[in-house]
């Protein structure tokens, strides 16, 4: 059933091959060190999620951070690297360059500008690793992710890695791409070789979720509408600002003005979360390992919208959040 799932995922994403990992965090954290070694250079966004950061740490490569979704900053870094390469062409021939981005960022709810990234990729000869944990099953006409959303040929992206824990409601993760690229992970992906496989029930559940996605492609448009609606409704809260794109199902509510210390912010947001919980709306704060994150995002409440929630439920949730926020923050 695991091989079946790999086949189905590869067919769904229209790539040559896919490989399944049994733990979603370990997917991207093993995929990056399988390709990028000491002496290689990785350009990564500042808002990359914790799994990517751990993968980069394990890879022992040179990490160059660029500002979140700032293509000018990335181009500046790539140009600097090009100058270094021209100074030492023999070293440049042996170093590999990678760009690691997320389709829909977990920490900020924004979408990466993929067309410009592909242009930069071909201009500066780097390879793109796209992490589609939130955008798989969300963006695009048929849910194929951010490549379909922008209409980019899937062969332009060297590796797509995603979590099955979000829209496929299973556990684990998968990577898909060309056979040449994915086959390498079967021997050198540490999270693939050195761990057991996914429970077969969950693999079957993922296949069923893929079936649902393939049978009703209309749900993605519905999800988009719901996301836009709730985004609009939550805009008017004083004291909280909505961080994230309007078509992102996972967005953050951050305090408009921080109180100065992170603990106080966290406590304030926790107060809002507790009161919402009392009224029957379950929210959660975005949790981070504060000492381990490279660029710690400000404390926020992460709100996630699913396609199964009805209009009334969404309205009720939005109004509850509004009332609670006004009560707590004023």
């Amino acid at each position: 059933v695991h091989l079946d799932l790999e086949d189905r995922l590869a067919k769904f994403m229209k790539t040559e091959e896919a490989i399944i990992y049994s733990y979603g965090f370990a997917t991207i954290a093993s995929a990056i060190p399988a390709y990028s070694k000491r002496g290689d250079i990785v350009f990564v966004d500042r808002a990359a999620c914790f799994a990517i950061q751990k993968g980069l740490q394990a890879s022992r490569s040179d990490i160059k951070l660029f500002n979140h979704n700032d293509m000018a900053d990335l181009e500046r870094l790539l140009k600097e690297q090009e100058i270094e390469d021209q100074k030492n062409p023999r070293k440049a021939r042996v170093t590999r360059r990678f760009i690691v981005v997320e389709g829909l960022y977990m920490n900020t709810g924004t979408i990466c500008p993929l067309p410009e990234l592909v242009k930069l990729k071909y201009k500066y000869k780097a390879r793109i690793f796209l992490e589609e944990s939130l955008s798989f099953g969300v963006l695009g006409e048929h849910g194929r992710g951010v490549t379909e959303h922008f209409g980019i040929n899937i062969d332009d992206i060297d590796l797509i890695s995603a979590n099955m824990e979000n829209s496929l409601a299973s556990i684990g993760g998968f990577c898909c791409g060309r056979s040449f690229v994915i086959d390498h992970q079967r021997l050198s992906g540490q999270g693939y070789c050195f761990s057991a496989s996914l429970p077969p029930l969950l693999a079957a559940a993922a296949i069923e979720a893929l079936n649902i996605m393939e049978e009703n492609p209309g749900i993605f448009a519905v999800l988009k509408e719901k996301c836009k609606r709730i985004h609009k409704v939550l805009q008017g809260i004083s004291g909280l600002k909505v961080v994230g794109e309007s078509l992102s199902p996972a967005f953050h509510l951050q305090l408009e003005e921080s109180t100065g210390s992170r603990e106080k912010d966290v406590k304030l947001l926790q107060e809002i979360v507790n009161q919402c919980m009392d009224r029957g709306i379950a929210l959660t704060q975005a949790r981070y390992l504060e000492k381990e994150e490279k660029c710690l995002p400000p404390p926020s409440i992460r709100v996630v919208v699913t396609v199964e929630q009805t209009e009334e439920e969404l309205e009720r949730a939005a109004s509850t959040i509004k009332e609670v926020a006004q009560a707590v923050l004023l």
Binding site: K37, G39, A58, S59, R60, K91, R93, V94, L187, S188
Partner: protein
């Protein structure tokens, strides 16, 4: 520091033997296989075809069981093949053996870098030659001494059999120097004029 002390297997072998000795009264049958397993694991560390925790197997090849003998036999084979060519005289054959052996040693030990397989250490040895990778960079291990002495022995034999002729002497000495200098610990990781650096 000898070569055997650099390996991690002997302490494990000794522990196994110690445990076998302790439980001698309780399990008389198990005691006898355990010391033998300990002794066997001390010999060739190169576990071919089994799962091992050696991060870079390249470092242990020259400590494997029987590889020194294989090396000597290979050099002997080269010499016999050269001897069988009819129009080479004995001094020429010896000089050729010396030179070809040193050339092959230079290429395989001091020019080729990295490993032919994926290692789990994220490419630590990617820019190191085989000589620098041997025993993880530990100097004066027994295999290193063996590989340093073998060109010297060949040189001595060659200078004897070429009756210390001047031309042969020059060729043999130059060849010997080219293969002995990179083996010095002062030359560990040194790349002259940036040749072969990346």
């Amino acid at each position: 520091m000898g070569g055997s002390s650099a390996d991690s297997a002997p302490p494990i072998g000794r522990v196994q033997m110690g445990e076998g000795g302790c439980f001698l009264e309780i399990a008389g049958v198990e005691a006898s296989p355990a010391p033998q397993a300990g002794r066997a694991s001390e010999a060739g560390r190169m576990n071919v075809g089994v799962a091992h925790s050696e991060v870079n197997p390249n470092t242990r090849v020259m400590n494997s069981r029987g590889i020194w003998l294989a090396y000597i036999i290979l050099v002997g084979l080269l010499h016999v093949v050269l001897l069988s060519i009819p129009f080479f005289s004995i001094p020429v054959v010896w000089t050729l053996t010396n030179v070809i052996h040193n050339l092959a040693m230079y290429i395989f030990l001091h020019t080729v870098k990295g490993t032919p397989f994926e290692t789990p250490d994220q490419g630590k040895a990617r820019l190191l030659t085989y000589w620098e990778q041997m025993d993880y960079g530990l100097q004066f291990t027994s295999s290193r001494k063996f590989l340093s002495i073998s060109p010297i022995v060949l040189y001595l034999l060659a200078s004897f059999y070429t009756t210390h002729d001047a031309v042969h002497f020059l060729i043999n000495t130059a060849s010997l120097l080219s293969v002995l200098l990179p083996k010095l610990p002062q030359f560990h990781g040194v790349r002259l004029f940036g040749i072969n650096k990346y």
